[in-house]
């Protein structure tokens, strides 16, 4: 599968941002299906969830683009009920942290309804949620909680890393007859990619190899894919060839594609945009190891948020997140375990700092 960020391969000319891709996906699906509606705090205002719901209120009106009270749990339940009745709600959360207010509805009802009721109802619900980062987002505006949702049967979880997949995954999520936790990352919003104008879906459960390599397999989740791609360049300078994989969909998870790459590299480093313990990286490492059953030696590693709460000050926050330099350094230590530690110069500006400035 080709990288959608490589426009020469896709042959598609139009380049739009992640924000525009999300907006377009929803707008097209709302055109297609009267049952699709958007619900969430401030989805109808001039900021339009950082542009991702731009213009929808004018086009579809307040009956289908619904501002809400601050009542995450009830709104989730209401969305679930509407979904059971055949509608297709898209519930928007400006921070993923706020999903912690609706875990009861999402997990005790949404994830279980189809099964618990013996197939009598379906819950085609999309939970859009944005991971925040930097500019003092801190403890309660920065969490990537996708592992919690991967843990629960009945939920699907996708985390597209570019505008192309954002549009295709969102359309697929809207058409899916199950609750889908849709993980967006604030820092990816301004990134561009070639995106076809016509509606299309990106299938869940298919990972993308976005860079080939022989020495180590890097799996980058959500925004960390970007840092992995940058790490790959740094590693190339050191003569190390890293494969980079974007899982795109976390549940279902395409272990095959990852395992195939690891077969070649015999080294696996998963970099998550979340905490490590019981995280998506633990799952990927364990799943790959289970498959191989010690066929040959395998070096594995996980990176992610520091095992701390997220601090607000940039002085500490920079140690909280992996970045291209720390990823490259870790990969180097795995490929050349005997050699002294290698710390490539951190880039003067971190990727996200180039494109993002407060207030948020």
């Amino acid at each position: 599968m080709s990288s959608p960020t490589d426009s020469s391969k896709t042959g598609k000319g139009r380049v739009i941002s992640y924000v525009e891709a999300l907006q377009e996906a929803v707008s097209q699906e709302m055109d297609r299906d009267q049952g699709v509606f958007v619900i969430g705090l401030n989805v109808d205002d001039h900021k339009a969830i950082q542009g991702t719901t731009h213009g929808l209120i004018d086009k579809f009106g307040p009956g289908r683009v619904i501002d809400t009270p601050l009542s995450e749990d009830a709104i989730t339940g209401i969305a679930i009920g509407a979904a059971m009745a055949g509608m297709r709600p898209i519930h928007v959360h400006i921070r993923m942290d706020f999903l912690l207010l609706c875990m009861n509805q999402l997990i005790n009802m949404g994830a279980k309804a189809h099964y618990m009721y013996g197939g009598q109802v379906k819950v085609p619900l999309v939970m859009r949620s944005i991971i925040g980062k930097s500019w003092g987002q801190g403890a309660q505006h920065s969490q990537g909680l996708h592992a919690m949702f991967m843990h629960v049967p009945g939920l699907k979880v996708v985390a597209p890393t570019n505008a192309h997949d954002a549009k295709g995954c969102l359309i697929a999520a809207i058409r899916d007859n199950n609750p889908v936790v849709f993980v967006e990352h604030r820092i990816l919003y301004s990134t561009d990619a070639p995106v076809p104008e016509d509606p299309y879906t990106v299938d869940f459960g298919k990972a993308r190899v976005v860079g080939d390599g022989d020495d180590i397999t890097l799996v980058g989740i959500s925004y960390m894919l970007v840092e992995c791609l940058r790490a790959r360049k740094l590693l190339a300078e050191a003569g190390i060839s890293a494969a980079v994989i974007d899982p795109v969909s976390l549940l279902p998870l395409d272990v095959d594609t990852i395992a195939r790459s690891v077969e070649q590299t015999e080294r696996l480093l998963v970099v998550d945009n979340a905490w490590v313990t019981c995280g998506a990286g633990a799952e990927i490492v364990a799943a790959v190891c289970e498959r191989r059953q010690g066929a040959s030696p395998l070096a594995v590693g996980r990176m992610g948020y520091a095992p701390t709460t997220c601090p607000t000050t940039p002085a500490l926050e920079k140690g909280f997140y992996p970045n291209a330099a720390t990823i490259a350094s870790k990969a180097h230590s795995m490929v050349r375990p005997g050699e002294p530690e290698w710390a490539p110069a951190a880039e003067p500006t971190l990727a996200h700092e180039a494109v993002f400035r407060g207030p948020f």
Binding site: P69, A74, G81, N104, K122
Partner: protein, 321 residues
């Protein structure tokens, strides 16, 4: 109930039949329970039947209800399939949820009975969401949501009232106030008894019924349903009622110290099944009773004869196609 019948004979017979069916079904469940054939926690509605029956009697077949783990009464009152309910309690593959729900998560979408839930309060917003869709549909269908006094303490209840009123959702909220959450009396849980007054501050009309008189409930529900169909938005009814059996399981628990048999007896003296039955002439009543016994026997037989689900069914219905 004073002897003079407040409704037409057909309604009386229908109401009695529904009350009787629920009472006898649950008594039968309680009788079977010690055999361990029903390996499901059962929360019996015995004594509380009139709330479900009074409300459901004014609903149309295509109206929708939602209820709780104490849901046998609502399920049957709305016309849920008895055979499939019994089979579900037995854990059989022919159960309404193919054995995956047990007593606590009954569902019958064919009868517009939304799925119930073992987590208190969770079905309230779900019913409101369904009502939201019904409103959009514009065919005049409404939803009724049953829940206990305990459920009103959950934040999601307040959140749902606010949203439902704001968007004028076609929903009837019905609080079955039996005075207890498990063994905890409302005095341990409610700062005041002013529930209906509170509900009114959301712009929702609320009616407090002092007891479980089935015709009073039916009348209140009828007015409420009519108002909702007329576009009033949500309506609310609080019915005082009493759970005769233990919180969960088939037995009584008047020796456990948290309530007295005197309390029970006051409610039993006005038993709605007996009272409505007494309004019927003997022959009609007997015919209904016989029919009910036949249905229950058939349901038990259906449940007993039904096969277990195949082991691979464990993996079906995780995701919908």
């Amino acid at each position: 109930m004073s002897g003079n019948v407040p409704v037409d004979p057909e309604t009386l017979a229908r109401v009695y039949r529904s009350l009787r069916l629920i009472r006898r079904t649950e008594e039968e469940i309680a009788r079977i329970y010690p055999s361990d054939k029903i390996k499901s926690p059962v929360h019996l509605s015995i004594g509380q039947e009139s709330v479900s029956v009074g409300v459901c009697d004014v609903l149309d077949a295509d109206d929708v209800i939602s209820a709780t783990y104490r849901g046998h009464a609502a399920y049957l009152a709305k016309g849920g399939d008895l055979n499939r309910m019994m089979a579900e309690l037995y854990g059989k593959g022919t159960g309404c949820a193919a054995g995956k729900a047990g007593s606590m998560h009954l569902i019958d979408m064919g009868a517009n009975v939304l799925g119930m839930s073992a987590v208190v309060g969770t079905t309230i917003p779900v019913a409101a969401g369904y009502a939201f869709a019904l409103g959009r549909e514009g065919k005049g269908r409404i939803a009724a949501s049953f829940f206990g006094d305990g459920a009103t303490e959950e934040g999601v209840f307040s959140e749902t009232l606010n949203f439902a009123s704001l968007h004028k959702l076609p929903i009837l909220f019905v609080c079955e106030n039996n005075g207890f959450a498990i063994h905890s009396p409302t005095s341990n849980r409610w700062a005041t008894e002013r529930l209906c007054e509170r509900v009114r501050t959301y712009g929702i009309e609320a009616k407090e019924l002092p007891d479980d008189d089935v015709f009073a409930i039916r009348e209140a529900a009828g007015h409420a349903a009519q108002a909702i169909r007329g576009g009033s938005g949500p309506q609310f009814i609080e019915c005082k009622t009493y759970r005769w059996r233990e919180h969960v399981g088939p037995g009584e628990d008047y020796d456990d110290g948290y309530r007295t048999r005197d309390e029970l007896e006051a409610w039993q003296a006005r038993d709605q099944v007996a009272a409505t039955g007494a309004m019927l002439d003997l022959a009609e009543r007997q015919a209904i009773d016989d029919e009910v016994e036949g249905l229950i026997a058939e349901a038990v037989d259906f449940a007993e004869q039904s096969p277990w689900p195949e082991p691979e069914e464990l993996y079906s219905h995780v995701f919908a196609d």
